[in-house]
Assembly symmetry: C2
Homo-oligomer: 109 residues x 2
């Protein structure tokens, strides 16, 4: 045990869960907010601004990158991260569809 039974769920459910999971950590939310705040991308600034070790930031960035939410390009000696516009759009739509499926309290407990 201990591992999610992905095979019993739909691809959409698994994908949505994966995207939500990628953002479901305060550090990663902070990272995404920081990237969005400066249109121009950043990188090692995150290490200074958030109070986490460099290895930890790098690990969080990797998770966001694996989920496809951000992308990084090497800019000389440093790495420039930014939002992946397509994935962000798809994700926003997918989350919106899910959340808007709720049509208020009809007759419930």
């Amino acid at each position: 045990m201990g591992l999610t039974k992905t095979e019993i769920f739909t691809a959409e459910q698994n994908q949505l869960a994966q995207l939500l999971k990628a953002m479901a950590h305060p550090a990663r939310i902070a990272i995404l907010q920081r990237i969005m705040a400066s249109n121009t991308c950043i990188c090692g600034d995150l290490v200074d601004e958030l109070g986490l070790a460099q290895a930890t930031i790098s690990q969080h960035l990797k998770e966001l990158k694996n989920a496809g939410i951000i992308q990084g390009t090497i800019e000389g000696v440093s790495v420039c991260y930014c939002i992946n516009p397509e994935i962000w759009g798809l994700m926003t739509a997918q989350i919106g569809t899910f959340l808007n499926a709720y049509k208020g309290p009809v007759s419930c407990c």
Copy 2:
């Protein structure tokens, strides 16, 4: 180590992360979708319809309840779960604000 350093993040970041985390599992997404599908609430139906053990479903329901996303009322011998309208609304707004903070690719990598 091994525990999230919540103290270095804002209350908003921690709260949003917590809500996202509560939904960041295909089983919990399936549960929420199932609850939304039948306006009228369900309970043990989930055990039959999802392919997970009763204890596992109960555990997932508990997490959703802890996050405030759903609420359960005892209905005789069974328990009726439904969406918590207020939290759902707040959550939708909070996630929307976060996702809409991204204003497309301005000049990035």
